[in-house]
Amino acid sequence: MIQAVAPKIEKNYLNEKVGLLSWLLTTDHKRIAILYTFSITVFFFIGGFFALMMRLELLSPRNWLVSAETYNKLFTMHGIIMVWFFLIPSIPGTLGNFLIPMMVGAKDVAFPKLNLLSWYIFMLGGGVTVYALFRGGVDTGWTFYTPFSTTYSTTYVVAAAVGIFIAGFSTILTALNFIATIHSMRAPGLTWFKLPIFVWSMYANSVVLILNTPVLAITLVMLAVERIFTVGIFDPALGGDPVLFQHMFWFYSHPAVYTMVLPAMAVISEIVPAFSRKPLFGYKAVAFSSIAIAVVGFLVWGHHMFVAGESVYSALAFSFLSYCVAVPSAIKVFNWTATIHGGSVSWDTPMLYAIGFIGLFTIGGMTGLFLAALGLDVHVHDTYFVIAHFHYIMVGGSVMAFLGGVHYWWPKISGKMYPEGLARLSALIVFIGFNLTFFPQFVLGYLGMPRRYAAYPEEFQMLHVLSTAGATILGVGYVLPLCYLIWAWHYGRDATPNPWRATGLEWKSSSPPPTHNFEVTPIVTAKLPYDYEAMKEELELV
């Protein structure tokens, strides 16, 4: 036995206080992380239900399950819930909240009450949106393009926009909290270049969220004002410009894509060194590539409007910049693979998800380059090719990393181990199900199947059936972890403080940690982050 079993600490953050109110009024970042985990899981399965309905409808070339109008609402609601109520808050709200204060050696985030307020604002925004969705839904697509959203749609556009507007404040406050925490709450000796890459990536992510979310908020305000007062802001009949809406929306939403994947990269950068028993290759390059993604990510939004009447010169500039943003992403992929190379790799569940992430993110990223190419984009614009591309990033990337991270830190969060065999099996199911769902969609899109249609020509049916089959397998892959993690929370075997023998301050605390994270404020004396060489020597001494 390498790791000595720590004496069981009587009090930890989970059992120090009990009762529903102790959870609803908590300012402990770890408990708030659990509140977020609960909420986003609910939203994930609501969004997943809409996806499942869409896939069932697409089994047949004709409308057989839902009407075309309902189908429009299904893909809109799927997008709204998954983007704003799962993907963007997922890793920051749960793992970010739990880990950032621990990784910097602090007792809590900089503003604990604000942190709790964020969760309440998030739930209020979610409540308003869900109200809009179940009252009759929205049919504009998650992008709310004008003038359809302002003038023609007869659905609950304003209510949905209000929900997203409210949730935006939660995102902003969480991001603000993280940046302040990382700047001013680091333990003695923990300089910037000793921080785990998780913290660097979450920092870059928070900067993006602080700068882009207010723009979405004000764009939605303008949309609502135009719709409520029937005045011209984006309506061309009243002197407005509908493409201006697209510019403002994508100025938010393209960086928003990076705020979905930067936290995923944060998780992968922790898992890969821990299961390769090697320091992360090119630490500074990986750290600065997060910053580069954040900066360049703000300059590429125009590639969503190549066919929307954008001038050829700005299209060229946006195309070029979109190629540039692939460079820092590629730096990360190369550094992760270089870390694995020559390491003593163990294939535990978090590592399986990490490997899956690297492969799928690479496919998603490379097909993004296809879409940034001016000529090819005209051919595949608004087809299933685009859908497949961004699902490889968001589902193959972000969701895989989220699951990997949840498994990796589960012993720390819950103090229990999850069933390893079952977890490996479901990681495999997720991987197979994901690829079967989305790879056929690349082919469909290339052959010309447009997105957002409930019916389609018969020659596409085979590929659609394959995709639906994959979606059901993927669904099983998502329900399994939900079941065994809840089981493990109660019946799993007790976890040691550091079951993966990983570096990082969070592993220096007990599992689960005490309310104030550390018995004494840690002082960092290590020369390097991810010092697995030193740890190897230490273990040999033991």
Partner: protein
């Protein structure tokens, strides 16, 4: 008597200096988000003024330049009293600081009063956008668009002013129970930064709404 610094130190911080530094980071980050939020409106205004220069000049000519200028002077004065409130707190003159905060509120309310007088005038002249709008002459939809941005942007500004006044009331209440001292007055600094930011936004609003119609 216990040290007020220790009383005001939140449990997550090790030192008062760390707490002050963290608050400062927090408010500056928050102001960044405000810049981006108003920034979105400024971008849209700029695009449309570029597209419809004549209509925007026509709309701007309907502005009450006298009231607008008086209001600008009033608001800048409120920044002065706000700044002096922080300054006097720094030297431990907390009573004076409270009086200055109260003066700032009064000046802020005067600004809002004049602003709503202007709104009412526009409403009476059928210049409020929507069903109330009735403009004869060329470029009517585009002139309406000018007023949409006028009401939206100055309205958002007025919302920020109102929030600022509520925050100032909170400061006065805390000041009365003796929370502030020469050593601890961070909340006054933080609210002061917010107040000055809202002032600066007004300077830009004054320029883009009141001045384009002057040299028609």
């Amino acid at each position: 008597m216990s040290d007020p610094l220790v009383l005001e130190l939140r449990e997550q911080f090790a030192t008062p200096e760390q707490q002050r530094h963290t608050s400062s980071i927090g408010i500056w980050l928050f102001l960044m988000t405000e810049v981006m939020m108003f920034g979105g409106l400024f971008v849209a205004y700029t695009v449309y003024r570029f597209n419809h220069p004549q209509a925007f000049a026509q709309g701007s000519a309907e502005m009450d330049i006298v009231l607008g200028s008086i209001n600008s002077a009033i608001l800048l004065t409120s920044s002065l009293t706000m700044g002096l409130a922080e300054f006097s707190a720094k030297f431990g003159r907390v009573r004076l600081s409270g009086i200055l905060l109260f003066t700032t509120i009064l000046i802020g309310l005067a600004f809002l009063g004049i602003k709503f007088t202007e709104y009412y005038e526009h409403y009476q002249q059928h210049e409020a956008p929507g069903v109330w709008f009735n403009h004869v002459g060329p470029h009517a939809p585009e002139v309406q668009m000018f007023f949409v941005f006028y009401f939206l942007m100055t309205g958002l500004h007025a919302v920020h002013m109102s929030i600022g006044i509520l925050l100032l009331l909170g400061l006065i209440a805390r000041n009365m129970v003796g929370s502030f001292s020469a050593a601890y007055h961070t909340p006054i600094t933080v609210v002061g930064l917010y107040w000055h930011f809202v002032d600066i936004v007004w300077i830009f609003l004054y320029v883009i709404f009141y001045l384009p119609g002057l040299h028609k």
